[in-house]
């Protein structure tokens, strides 16, 4: 039986890029860059690429390629029964995020149809449009269902015919579309202000800890490093695949997309807002506020804007879909390790996403809570992954699994230092910082975080023996 793999290196790279490039590149990066000092933020963000994202991606690609097992299986293989719960945590967090991510993808699909059908005409009140949409559960649910179905349709067709094929089509398309939007935005009257706010470095921000932490976080979340996606996709690479160079390509590729999106969003925002204070309000409005209220309104002001809006939201939908399927795949891969057939596993995961995403579809406060709770869960995920390399011995790990004879570039000792020293330190700083922020802004949310994390961790650690036997030491486990 032919093994279901990526048919080529490029298929793998495109899939990884598709997973990495998501709504975060398009609506979060521009916001953060403008807010935290433009050029200064971008410098910090590029530094973070080399000091967090790419090293972690390398680690993940190495792990997946070596074990050819899902995330949970990889942890079992490297660290044994004692630490298999770490792998389970990673899978759980990514899956929990996926539950509400499909709702978000539903939003982008809705707005694509809205703008394509002329719903963003001049004069429409985008604020009430958004709030009435959000407060009509059945509408949000409908699009959530469509999103899940689309993702399900892709993953059940497998890696080469599903994931790879979809990414081959959607990724270039979305890049093309967002580039069109960016070029259009550069023609707007005050577009230069957008470029100013994006690139001019506010030098004093270099002394601002919050900026550095946010740049680090943006790079981490945007590249999907330390989330289990990279391990999972690496499992399906052909037998002898490079690890290090691919990590660089994915890192650079993800950042390239962010830059284009940044131009598209910021030049539209600053180009069409009546005053700079107004544009700044858009930045302070949060991701959904910026995208679905401010940008939607600004698009509606120009005659060709409705078309650009459709292009913009379509590219967002594509980005969301390619990220959604990677989330599905992390869980499906694990289920397959437990003996399920792909199609079966896909059904279960899709159903679970449908059901458990419903609360987030019905109430946006639930969604925001889940977002706050589980996106922070990615921080421990990253730490756990680096823990594999640390426990194995960084130098040993590097020479065994990264600088293999299939590697196209040589990774030097710098990687050891980053993994052993920097990564844990960065994790610790970010963890403390963001936890403190949650406590400050909403003690209630922090309480729900503690409860949810505590419950999940407790269960995973408690049942690690079970996890080990289900996901790793099965007698009739399918070979990849």
């Amino acid at each position: 039986m032919a093994e279901d793999r990526f048919t080529s290196r490029w298929g793998f790279i495109l899939a990884a890029l598709g997973a990495a490039i998501g709504t975060g590149n398009i609506w979060r990066f521009p916001r953060e860059a403008a807010k935290y000092g433009g050029g200064a933020f971008i410098v910090a963000w590029i530094i973070a690429l080399f000091l967090w994202s790419i090293p972690l991606l390398m680690t993940e690609f190495a792990i997946g390629r070596k074990t050819r097992k899902s995330v949970i299986g990889s942890f079992a293989e490297f660290l044994g029964e004692k630490y298999v719960w770490m792998g389970a945590w990673i899978v759980f967090v990514s899956t929990a995020i996926n539950f509400y991510y499909s709702v978000v993808m539903g939003w982008t699909i809705r707005y694509f149809f809205l703008s394509a059908s002329g719903g963003l005409y001049k004069g429409v009140n985008t604020s009430s449009l958004w709030y009435s949409f959000i407060s009509t559960p059945y509408k949000v649910i409908a699009f959530h269902v469509i999103a899940v179905l689309l993702g399900w349709f892709v993953v059940r067709r497998g890696v080469s015919k599903g994931i790879e094929l979809t990414n081959k089509i959607l990724l270039p398309s979305l890049l093309f579309l967002i580039t069109v939007a960016a070029i259009w935005s550069l023609t707007l009257p005050n577009a230069i202000n957008g470029l100013k706010y994006m690139f001019i470095p506010r030098v004093h921000m270099f002394g601002n800890a919050e900026m550095w932490i946010h740049a680090l976080a943006q790079s981490a979340w945007s590249c999907s490093a330390g989330m289990g996606m990279a391990i999972t996709y690496a499992v399906y690479t052909k037998k002898r695949e490079d690890v290090a160079l691919n990590a660089f390509i994915v890192g650079f590729g993800n950042n390239s997309a962010s830059l284009i999106a940044g131009v598209a969003v910021l030049c539209t925002l600053f180009g069409l807002s009546p005053t700079i204070a107004d544009a700044y309000r858009g930045i302070e409005a949060g991701s959904s506020g910026l995208t679905f209220i401010h940008l939607a309104h600004l698009f509606s002001l120009m005659p060709v804007g409705a078309l650009i809006a459709a292009i913009f939201f379509l590219s967002m939908s594509f980005a969301a879909l390619t990220s959604l399927i990677s989330g599905f795949e992390i869980a499906i891969c694990s289920l397959m390790d437990a003996g399920f057939e792909r199609k079966r596993a896909a059904n279960y995961i899709a159903l679970a996403t449908l059901l458990f995403g419903l609360p987030s579809a019905i109430s946006i406060s639930v969604l925001e809570n889940q977002d706050a709770v589980w996106s922070l869960g990615l921080l421990p995920s990253g730490l756990f992954i680096s823990f594999i390399a640390i426990k194995y011995g960084a130098s040993k790990f590097r020479s065994a699994f990264i600088n293999t004879e299939d590697s196209d570039i040589f990774v030097g000792k710098w990687w050891d230092l980053i993994i052993c020293l920097l990564l844990p330190a960065e994790f610790f700083i970010m963890f403390v910082w963001f936890m403190a922020e949650v406590v400050k802004t909403s003690p209630l949310t922090f309480a729900t975080l503690v409860i949810q994390w505590g419950t999940v961790m407790f269960l995973l650690v408690r049942f690690r023996k079970k996890l080990y036997s289900i996901f790793y030491s099965r007698k009739e486990g399918k070979k990849k």
Binding site: S128, V145, I200, R202, H204
Partner: protein
């Protein structure tokens, strides 16, 4: 599951989602949302429910009172309440700002006369606190107020009104609205009258013949003849009304439609009780000459040092007593209230008129010319004809004569709709009439302070000399390293008592800076430099010695000028250069890195293929 099955599932889902698609084309309804409540007439019950809802939903600016609680009987004759709504900021306090009274439904069959005040209430509470909004999303803000005209010539009517004006009015005025003064009469008229048909009941439901039963033939008092100023002076007069019909101006006959209520026959000032001579069986007797001896006519008729303290009639009804309980008069009338109203608008129908005092005599009031001018300015909104009350026909004991004569308020009566519309116009007329007269209410509220000053200096019109501000806001970015300079030109500088700049940082409280004169009528002030990333709002405030304030922008602080404080790496050529450098650097690293790594990969793949792996 086969692919075909999945397609079926997808189709099912899509068909369920289709309604979601349908709902996507949310219409941009630019009429105020509360107008759907005006598609039919309120009645006493539905109005009471709505007023309670409004009061509970807007505790920051609304207080609801049942004024009958302050009257002798504690309720109307049939046990209903006379609801009064006070709309103002700090509604529990009495502030030093002009007060406006808006009253509807003195007369039972004039249904439109309680709709218009209700519309005003909704308009104010609905728009209060909202920022200037581009309601119709056409890029212009507040360019087409609600007045049944296409002010901006775009083919649409009344689609973009000024929220700031509503906020400003509520913050700077106290608006008292009594939508339905005569609830008993209105409820009775709802029973006996039909839409589109004229006639109907006019009075309240007083049981004149005290037989315990309400009977049209004998009962009811005309509330608009029940005020004590010059009460019943014209009781015997037959007058010809404008449409040629002979009517009684004012009547002592309880059966008459203009019955002014019973004589007072009460010793309001308590001076009729005199000591009896010692030989008299009772210790006290009544001096009948000291009952009702000082009627309300601005004259100390009994020369006892008090003016108008023992009326001969009027305020016999709980409804009119409700009004008495809040109005502050300049004489010694008993039972009056604490509020000095600057302007009052009493709604009636029909006639399409704006009516000013006197009603009881053909003589003009001392403020006749001011009334004509103020009336004409309000008439710009509804197009009604401005006339003196006596020009319509003589009356006595109406609300306006009492408000002007006893309290020196500037009162107007507004007769809504035309004769063809009649007393019970079809419901489609409600919204247009309300919209048409909204501007009248807003104008009266907004310019009450100017009216007060005009009245106090005996001006002939509202066009009194006032200071004003010429200013154009041009700079909407400031740097965090510089103070922000504001220069204004004050017109009629000699009348300006104070010129003040108010500014607020990021929505915090407004701070005050006295502007300094730099000659030629120009004043300047500097707003101190702020942290980068903040938004500063500011406005200018000039007042005259009477206390009238003029603001720039007009409805500050509901609207204000604003600017954004930016980092000191400004926007000059140096910054542009920096930006270009950064763009090249960043794109170089990222795209350069991408291209380089891709190149390596391509070469590597080619090598691997050639190497036969």
């Amino acid at each position: 599951m086969k692919n075909s099955h999945m397609l079926v599932v997808l189709l099912i889902v899509l068909s369920v989602a289709f309604p979601a698609f349908q709902g996507m084309q949310d219409s941009a309804n630019t009429a105020p949302s509360f107008e759907e409540l005006f598609s039919g007439y309120f009645n006493y019950t539905s109005m009471s429910i709505e007023l309670h809802k409004i009061a509970s939903e807007h505790p920051d600016i609304v207080r609801l009172y049942d004024l009958t609680k302050n009257t002798e009987y504690g309720a109307t004759w049939m046990g209903r309440a006379v609801w009064a709504v006070k709309i103002s900021d700090n509604p529990d306090m009495e502030e030093n700002e002009p007060k406006i009274l808006v009253v509807g439904a003195h007369h039972a069959r004039e249904w439109m006369s309680y709709e218009v005040p209700m519309y005003l209430i909704y308009y104010l509470v609905d728009n209060y606190g909202k920022p200037p909004t581009d309601n119709d999303n056409d890029g212009l803000v507040d360019e087409d107020p609600i007045d049944m005209k296409d002010n901006d010539n775009d083919g649409l009517i009344d689609e973009d009104w000024s929220e700031a004006q509503a906020t400003w009015i509520v913050n700077h005025r106290e608006i008292w609205v009594i939508p339905m003064l005569n609830p008993d009469g209105v409820e009775y008229d709802h029973q006996i009258s039909n839409l589109g048909v004229n006639g109907g009941w006019r009075k309240n439901c007083r049981d004149n013949n005290k037989n315990g039963v309400f009977d049209e033939q004998f009962d009811g008092v005309d509330l608009n003849r029940n005020y004590p100023y010059m009460w019943a002076r014209n009781r015997y007069m037959q007058v010809i009304s404008r449409n040629g019909i002979a009517i009684t101006a004012d009547s002592s006959n309880p059966a008459s439609d203009t019955y002014h209520g019973p004589d007072d026959n009460y010793d309001d000032d308590g001076d009729a009780l005199v000591h009896a001579p010692d030989w008299f069986p009772q210790h006290y007797i009544y001096d009948w000459n000291k009952i009702d001896e000082d009627p309300v006519d601005s004259v100390d008729n009994d020369n006892d040092g008090l003016v108008d303290e023992d009326k001969d009639g009027g305020f016999s009804e709980p409804e009119t007593q409700a009004i008495r309980s809040i109005v502050k008069t300049l004489d010694d009338e008993e039972g009056t209230g604490n509020i000095s109203f600057s302007i009052s608008l009493s709604y009636h129908s029909f006639g399409e008129l704006i009516v000013y005092p006197w009603g009881y005599t053909y003589d003009p009031t001392p403020d006749d010319s001011l009334f004509k001018d103020l009336g004409a300015r309000m008439a710009r909104y509804n197009g009604y004809k401005v006339i003196k009350g006596s020009d319509l026909y003589l009356t006595s004991g109406d609300l306006d004569d009492w408000l002007y004569g006893a309290a020196h308020t500037l009162p107007f009566t507004i007769e809504l709709n035309s004769q063809e519309d009649g007393f019970h116009p079809m419901p489609e007329k409600i919204v247009p009439t309300c919209r048409l007269n909204l501007g009248v209410n807003l104008y009266a509220a907004e310019y009450a302070d100017v009216a007060d000053e005009a009245k106090s200096i005996n001006a002939k019109s509202m066009n009194i000399p006032l200071p004003s501000i010429e200013y154009e806001h041009t700079k909407d970015i400031a740097l965090c390293t510089e103070d922000y300079r504001v220069v204004v030109r004050v017109v009629n500088e000699s009348l300006a008592k104070e010129v003040v700049l108010w500014y607020s940082v990021d929505g915090w409280r407004y701070n005050r800076i006295n502007m300094s004169s730099i000659g030629g009528g120009y004043y300047e002030a500097y707003i101190p430099r702020q942290e980068a990333g903040t938004v500063v709002r500011y406005y200018i405030d000039v007042c005259d010695s009477f206390g009238v304030h003029i603001y720039s922008p007009k409805y500050a602080e509901a609207e204000a000028y604003e600017y954004f404080v930016d980092y000191d790496i400004g926007h000059g050529p140096g910054a542009i250069f920096m930006m270009a450098v950064m763009i090249i650097l960043v794109c170089g690293i990222i795209y350069g890195g991408l291209i380089k790594t891709l190149n390596i990969a391509i070469k590597a793949e080619r090598r691997k293929i050639d190497g036969g792996r």
